[in-house]
């Protein structure tokens, strides 16, 4: 399934005889931006390191030919370090069949980025240097000198601002020239003693590729790799001693110092410093003093997140009724009328207009708030703030036994859990990676946002943003709590150092923010919407079939197979507030195990089926124009409500009866009205908590299995189900404790006891089977 997953397949496949161009560089140098620019793809970009964790292929049309472009994860060094994502880049750069390496460096952080360039030159591959972000360098008072850099390095250098497309024609021409006449440049020269040691050790390594054997020798000499055989160990000892005697320095330090010195010399040649550096730095420092502050960083992050959701929901509310009313008029009533006029039978009109049309209506209703959420998140990502949020969370994360960069996949998880799980590859330590992966299913993905929006529109109309924010924060809290518990019980250990480079602050570009938001919205509308519409159609038919008088026959919805099966499960959910008549909610949960967006599709199918009789009247008399006018008339009233909401941002409505909620909802959609009748605000919130936390969707299960194996995947699903049930039960029982104090307290005590048993079991697992736990933790790469 899942519609919500934004892991797009690779761009167009490589051409048969096309030359291969690899994009290499430090994380957050702008490789994917350049990849999109060269290939016309729309791969996700972000102003933080670690957005790309796998290689991607695309085709670039040059002036006379085409080239296959390989986008690689960011890598700091070819010598080692980092997570599996950096290993992917190293494998391609050292062993891959590449005709040209384009090294993208950040012109505002040139000396640091040239360290990788020195290593790329050592591979002996044809190289082209892209001096990216020259605008930011200039804003920092640094004037890049591409010609001087090119002359000193012996490779072509192209200055660019990739995110604006500046320098694209020059780059295409340079690629064409570099493919025709490759330049390998001049690698840093190590002292003679080191070169002799490298030559000797390279010969002893059992590696065919010359670049790989040289880098293996460098790793041996640098102490990054232990010698595999006794002759290699003897040679290493001999040549290291010889280098120490000859130079007075450790060979490991000498090799690194040579590259540092080379990068320093090149950076000095390749840029001139102006006088404006101080002002920009002071602004950055002033902002960072707040957002990275030990005490303010986390509250600031939560405040920002709160604002995002309140603004999204409240702002989106202005257009919510317009989209709802207009789409209902067009896709449900209008299409039903057209189908009736075309002479189609009533049952088919009901299926198409009520099932599929109703699904479209439901998706369209939430386009506005979801689009605003995506816009604001993209703005934050592009500004450089999200990377700082991860940095600010580092202290809290480490106290929970996690590295700070575990927050990066978590933020990605707001869009979709699948790329978030894959994004955990940026984390170096296996234990840290396992914990980070197991946290991801609790992050609220965009598919779940649809469910929140539907319920918030009905039960928490005035303060839906706060409720959605609360659910997001609850997801984060449960994710962190999971890591904390597992890190102290089943997977003990200490977190590795946080590997993260802070990007510069940028005023987000309109194109970049729009593109990112549009990509996510498109996924929501097309994929999630398609699933909801299709499920709505299927579930419009399914509740019409039942086992009556010993045979399968058509029946009303309340006697259908779906109703009978779901009713059997309702008692399991009674402690979280479900009543026997709430079987559609159980159907939604069962179907939602495949894909979260299906929950709403299920409601849609069932409730529209129930309302089918009245719907036929609406198909015969659609009154499309009047409904469209009425929908448009809601905009000023909702705008006024938005302004009122700003005056009362923390107002909390009383948790009342279903009737009060139905009156308060004002929802036009039949599905939303039916929702209001079936839940109270309290049971609705408990239900939302269950939806937030219970089993991951099918695609997330697939990603989990791929990253951590079946054992941890099964644990994740069972653990999620247990946590969801426990949390929803505690919330409902605590909220209704005045109605039935004894049973509520017993239920809460039972959940607490079960949690204690779980923790004890996990601790025993971690203590008694450390080897097995370690194997399990390392059962993935």
């Amino acid at each position: 399934m899942s519609g919500c997953h934004d892991v797009a397949p690779s761009g167009s496949g490589p051409s048969e005889a096309a030359p291969v161009v690899a994009l290499a560089g430090n994380p957050n140098a702008g490789k994917t931006t350049l990849f999109n620019l060269l290939t016309g793809a729309n791969q996700r970009i972000g102003n933080w390191p670690g957005v790309t964790v796998e290689r991607r292929l695309g085709t670039a049309r040059l002036q006379r030919t085409r080239a296959t472009v390989v986008d690689l994860p960011g890598v700091y060094s070819l010598l080692g370090g980092g997570g599996p994502d950096q290993e992917v880049a190293r494998d391609v750069l050292l062993d891959g069949k590449i005709d040209l390496v384009i090294d993208i460096v950040d012109a505002s952080n040139l000396e640091r980025h040239l360290a990788l360039t020195s290593e790329l030159l050592e591979t002996g591959r044809p190289l082209l240097l892209v001096l990216n972000m020259v605008d930011e360098a200039r804003a920092n008072g640094i004037e890049p000198c591409a010609h001087a850099l090119s002359a000193a390095m012996g490779v072509p250098v192209v200055p660019m601002v990739a995110r604006r497309g500046t320098g694209r024609p020059e780059l295409l021409a340079a690629i064409e020239r570099a493919l025709a006449a490759p330049s390998r440049g001049e690698a840093p020269a190590y002292p003679a003693a080191v070169e002799r040691a490298l030559a000797a050790l390279s010969e002893l390594t059992e590696v065919a590729a010359p670049a790989r054997s040289r880098f293996q020798a460098l790793r041996l000499l640098g102490g990054d790799e232990a010698p595999a055989t006794r002759p290699v160990a003897h040679a290493l000892e001999h040549w290291s001693s010889a280098a120490l005697e000859e130079t007075g320095e450790d060979a490991a330090d000498l090799t690194a110092a040579t590259r540092f010195a080379w990068a320093h010399r090149l950076a000095t040649l390749g840029q001139r410093h102006g006088a404006r550096r101080g002002a920009r730095q002071r602004v950055t420092d002033a902002i960072d003093a707040v957002v990275l502050n030990a005490w303010l960083g986390v509250p600031v992050f939560l405040a920002v997140l709160y604002l995002v959701f309140v603004l999204s929901f409240s702002g989106g509310n202005i257009l919510l009724d317009l989209f709802d009313g207009a789409s209902a008029a067009l896709f449900v009533n209008g299409s039903g009328n057209l189908l009736l006029r075309a002479g189609l039978p009533g049952w088919l009109v009901s299926v198409v207009a009520g099932g599929a049309g109703g699904g479209i209506n439901l998706v369209a209703t939430f386009i506005a708030p979801i689009a605003i959420t995506f816009l604001l998140l993209a703005f934050l990502e592009d500004s450089g703030y999200m990377a700082r949020a991860a940095y600010a969370m580092d202290r809290l994360m480490r106290r929970l036994g996690l590295p700070g960069n575990a927050l990066v996949p978590m933020v990605i998880g707001f869009g979709c859990n699948v790329p978030a799980i894959l994004g955990a590859r940026v984390i170096e330590g296996r234990r840290d990676r396992l914990l980070t992966v197991l946290m991801q299913p609790f992050m609220s993905c965009s598919a779940r946002l649809t469910i929140y929006m539907a319920f918030a529109a009905v039960f928490f109309r005035g303060h839906g943003g706060q409720v959605v924010f609360l659910l997001y924060v609850l997801g984060i809290a449960v994710a962190l709590g999971t890591a904390w518990v597992l890190g102290r019980t089943a997977v003990p250990g200490t977190p590795a150092a946080f590997v993260m480079e802070l990007p510069p602050y940028r005023l987000p570009g309109f194109r970049s923010v729009w593109l990112q938001s549009w990509q996510r919205l498109k996924v929501f509308v097309l994929r999630v919407g398609r699933v909801i519409a299709l499920i709505g159609l299927v579930l419009f038919v399914l509740p019409g079939i039942g086992w009556v008088d010993g045979r399968l026959t058509s029946t009303d919805v309340d006697h259908s197979l779906l109703a009978q099966g779901s009713r059997a499960l309702v008692p399991l959910f009674a402690p979280m507030g479900m009543r026997p008549g709430d079987w559609p909610a159980v159907s939604g949960l069962v179907a939602g195990a495949a894909a979260k967006e299906v929950v709403i599709g299920t409601f849609n199918g069932i409730y529209r089926r129930r309302a089918d009789g009245t719907a036929m009247d609406a198909y015969r008399h659609p009154e499309v124009a009047r409904r469209l006018r009425a929908a448009a008339a809601t905009v000023p009233a909702n705008a006024a409500g938005f302004l009122n909401g700003l005056r009362d941002p923390l107002g909390l409505t009383a948790i009342g009866s279903a009737g009060a909620a139905e009156r308060a909802s004002g929802a036009d959609s039949a599905t939303l009205r039916a929702l209001a009748a079936d839940f109270t605000p309290l049971s609705a919130f408990s239900y939302l908590v269950f939806v937030l936390l219970y089993v991951p969707c099918a695609s997330t299960v697939g990603a989990l299995r791929r990253e951590v194996g079946w054992g941890w995947t099964a644990f994740s699903a069972a653990y999620g189900l247990a946590v969801a049930w426990g949390a929803a039960t505690v919330i409902y029982q605590a909220g209704s404790v005045t109605l039935h104090p004894l049973s509520s307290l017993l239920w809460i005590a039972a959940v607490a006891s079960a949690a204690a048993v779980l923790v004890t079991g996990l601790r025993r697992y971690g203590r008694r089977r450390p080897r097995r736990a370690r194997r399990a933790a390392g059962a993935y790469t």
């Binding site: 430090n26 700091y76 060094s77 010598l79 080692g80 370090g81 980092g82 952080n109 000396e111 640091r112 360290a115 790793r219 041996l220 640098g222 102490g223 990054d224 790799e225 232990a226 010698p227 290493l236 290291s240 001693s241 120490l244 007075g248 320095e249 450790d250 490991a252 330090d253 690194a256 110092a257 540092f260 010195a261 990068a263 320093h264 730095q281 950055t284 960072d288 003093a289 990275l292 502050n293 030990a294 005490w295 960083g297 700082r388 940095y391 600010a392 580092d394 202290r395 480490r398 590295p403 700070g404 170096e428 590795a496 150092a497 946080f498 590997v499 993260m500 480079e501 802070l502 510069p504």
Partner: protein, 113 residues
């Protein structure tokens, strides 16, 4: 002189410093100093020194004194733990793959610019 050796020698001389101090004194980009410190840390020549290492800190817990509050998310002291100047010692090759090259924990370092 290579920036790596410049950082190493200054740190050996001072004993304790922050990367930001080293960057200012040596007129090097902070990110380069951080990369140099990360290399020296991998080589076992420097280690993170919590504020407790400072005589002014009485509690021994990072973030518990005013110094931490005003200095940023974590006070990024690093302490020289290699051989003193003039000593010659061969570092044995270590097992396993090296840590990330060029970046390290914010517990150890300032944010790179």
């Amino acid at each position: 002189m290579s920036p790596l050796f410049a950082v190493r020698d200054r740190l050996r001389e001072r004993g304790l410093a922050t990367p930001r101090q080293l960057a200012a004194e040596l007129e090097l980009p902070l990110a380069v100093v951080e990369a140099a410190v990360a290399h020296l840390e991998r080589r076992g020549k420097v280690r993170a020194a919590p504020p407790a290492a400072e005589p002014g800190c009485g509690t021994g817990r990072c973030g518990s004194c005013r110094l931490c509050f005003t200095a940023g998310p974590d006070v990024p002291w690093v302490r020289w733990s290699g051989p003193p100047a003039g000593a010659r010692r061969q570092e044995p090759a270590r097992e396993g793959v090296g840590r990330a090259h060029g970046v390290t924990s914010p517990a150890l370092l300032d944010p790179p610019r």
